[in-house]
């Protein structure tokens, strides 16, 4: 009898536990169960030595849940200091429409800690990630950029977006009325997702950009680029462009008329097809050759009889055109294709261009001869440096790569037999030793390369300009065991000097010297340094 008063209570308990069990469980779950998602992280982008090029760093946002704020003026006074905002500014933001107001979304860890420590009602902190580039603009045309929601927009960030982005971490938590949480379960992620490693070397990139920006300032360039490639495997070591933009990589997206640097292909075809003997000469018309009425090919200096080496060393357009005429369009076209022109290289960066050349069926005598010395043909810088790297590499063309992976470099094809490559290398060395590329000389090292000076096509008149040029130099060093192939392209240099030999070759020499010193590449011709020192007296070692 004494337990009788407990009977209604027992009945009520039984009703709640049995009859309404599921309903109440659902209500509790709705109240306290929460799924928390951490902001998604992007993987780091590293250079070939593991140095950071791009990283996602945490940032904290401070927001206000306005209905929970009882005294806005007091809140503004207390919050202004830790946020670095004036109380008036906080009050103005509080008057904005909507329940939530984000006061700042770029707080540092210390600022976020100070705000959290103030324990103000209605003030919350959330964590997120922001893409940061510790080297500022360095290599940004290659790295690219991301959108505000952390997706790749350009460059490597876009090309490898799916590999870089990580799924947000999902955690199931219990949350009480005061907002405190208890972890229940979740998907555990590695706090640092697997980084993406590029073939770019941060130091090489710096030297390349520095050399390019100095040239840009000196010659008031409209644009320019400097590429460095490892010829033994096709890996890109530096890709600098001016003006630098994270939204555009001129090295792969732009094409241009290469001018005399394209004579390499004609020379390779001539040697490979035995179109001209080593000792055979071609009459270079003393600098002016009228192909047809109104079509005249001119050289920058008059020449008479020249052999192939002389034609390339003196960069004779007429000599090159006459060699191309012997080759014919079909064989010339085949060699262009063999060197990787007219097709995308497969580097895997967004927006790559394949370049352009008239189809074989539409090629006339004039267009063939013009193409033989780099006019009427458009190539991308990445194609051109690849062609020279193939010569530097004994005739093997590798697919250029920007991503460092464990897989073997992709060998595309052999572009020329070894004896052809040896002759070509000797000719390119001659260009620097005796020809137009003398300003690319580096004391102590054998350099092989070719200058180029192309007139720019005026889009208004559809004629080649007589005052605007693209100056270039491309070469490799040391010539016998090449470590680097370097391409320098300077768009519209001003101030009187515009030849590739005057403006681009010195940039090549300066950059190559820096890279050789940086990598500790021993001179392959030390006697020349000793001679130079003998002339100057003992060198005084400067601090470095």
């Amino acid at each position: 009898m004494s337990l009788l008063p407990l009977l209604p209570l027992s009945v009520r308990l039984a009703y709640l536990q049995v009859a309404r069990h599921q309903d109440l469980l659902t209500r509790v779950a709705d109240e306290v169960d929460r799924v928390a998602r951490d902001a998604p992280k992007r993987a780091d982008i590293l250079d070939r030595s593991g140095r950071v090029l791009a990283q996602s760093v945490p940032v904290w946002s401070c927001f206000i849940d306005k209905p929970l704020v009882k005294a806005p003026a007091a809140l503004a006074r207390r919050l202004g200091g830790p946020l670095g905002m004036s109380p008036d500014a906080v009050l103005r933001r509080l008057r904005e429409p909507g329940r939530f107001v984000v006061l700042r979304d770029d707080l540092t860890f210390d600022e976020a800690e100070r705000v959290s420590a103030s324990r103000l009602a209605g003030v919350g902190i959330t964590a997120g990630f922001q893409r940061a580039y510790p080297n500022d603009a360095l290599g940004r045309s290659v790295i690219g950029t991301v959108s505000s929601d952390g997706r790749g927009l350009s460059g490597v960030e876009l090309a490898f977006d799916s590999a870089l982005v990580q799924e947000p971490e999902r955690r199931e938590v219990l949350r009480d009325g005061r907002g405190r949480q208890i972890f229940r379960s979740g998907t555990a992620h590695d706090p640092k997702p697997e980084p993406l490693r590029l073939t770019i070397d941060r130091n090489f990139q710096f030297y390349a950009e520095e050399a390019l920006s100095e040239a840009a300032a000196r010659y008031a360039l409209a644009g320019g680029l400097v590429l460095v490639q490892d010829p033994s495997n096709g890996r890109m070591l530096a890709m600098a462009s001016y003006p630098s933009s994270p939204l555009r990589n001129a090295a792969v997206q732009d094409s241009y008329e290469p001018g005399s640097t394209f004579k390499l292909v004609t020379a390779a075809a001539a040697i490979g097809e035995s179109a001209i003997r080593e000792d055979e000469t071609v009459f270079c018309e003393n600098g002016s050759w009228e192909l047809a009425p109104g079509v005249t090919i001119k050289d920058h200096e008059p020449s008479g009889e020249l052999n192939l080496a002389g034609i390339i060393e003196r960069s004779s357009n007429i000599g090159t055109a006459k060699v191309a005429e012997r080759l014919g369009a079909l064989r010339f076209y085949r060699w262009c294709q063999a060197f990787g022109f007219l097709n995308k290289t497969g580097i895997g960066l967004p927006g790559e261009t394949a370049g352009a050349l008239k189809p074989l069926s539409a090629m006339t005598r004039v267009s063939l001869l013009a193409a033989s010395y780099g006019y009427g043909i458009a190539v991308s810088p990445i194609q051109l440096i690849g062609a020279y790297s193939a010569i530097a590499n004994g005739g093997i063309l590798y697919e250029p790569s920007a991503l460092l992976t464990d897989r073997e470099p992709v060998r595309v094809r052999r572009v020329a037999p070894e004896d052809t490559v040896r002759r070509l290398t000797a000719i390119l060395e001659g260009v620097v030793e005796r020809g137009t590329g003398a300003t690319a000389k580096i004391p102590g090292y054998r350099v092989a390369g070719k200058t180029g000076t192309a007139r720019k096509l005026d889009p208004a008149t559809k004629k080649y300009s007589t005052s605007r040029f693209v100056a270039s130099f491309v070469g490799f060093v040391p010539a016998d065991k090449p470590r680097f192939t370097i391409l320098v392209v300077l768009d519209d240099p001003k101030g009187g000097a515009y030849y590739g030999s005057q403006v681009a070759a010195p940039v090549f020499a300066k950059l190559a010297r820096s890279l050789l010193t940086l990598e500790g590449v021993p001179p392959d011709r030390p006697a020349s340094i000793a001679r130079a020192q003998g002339a100057k007296g003992p060198a005084v070692a400067k601090a470095f």
Partner: protein
């Protein structure tokens, strides 16, 4: 009476256990949150370090504070014997490479996560 007492004790223990579990749950979640914050702080500091060792920064400090100049080929001294032989100056370069390697190892050690 003893049964009721035991029952009350058991109930009390269960309540205590539940409270402790909840308290520990809060503590664990607070610790997890702290770990996330510290990881974030570590990443922020890592970024500061990367900014400090950016080539542009190092080159700037080397040139302005330490008055350093980039090495030019004419400061490379070639031993007479190697120069006259026309061969590679063996001895000098391996030493440079060893030094370079030691410096690189030192930098790698500094970069290792703590």
């Amino acid at each position: 009476m003893v049964a009721i007492l035991l029952l009350a004790l058991a109930a009390g223990f269960m309540v205590w256990q539940r409270v402790q579990a909840t308290r520990l749950g809060y503590a664990v979640e607070t610790a997890r949150s702290r770990v996330r914050s510290l990881q974030g702080q570590l990443m922020s500091q890592g970024m500061e370090w990367e900014k400090a060792v950016a080539p542009a920064q190092i080159a700037h400090h080397a040139r302005t504070r330490l008055q350093m100049q980039p090495a030019a080929p004419d400061v490379i001294r070639i031993p007479e014997s190697a120069a006259s032989a026309g061969g590679s100056p063996s001895g000098a370069w391996p030493l440079s490479r060893e030094l370079l390697s030691a410096v690189r190892q030192g930098i790698s050690a500094l970069r290792r996560p703590i």
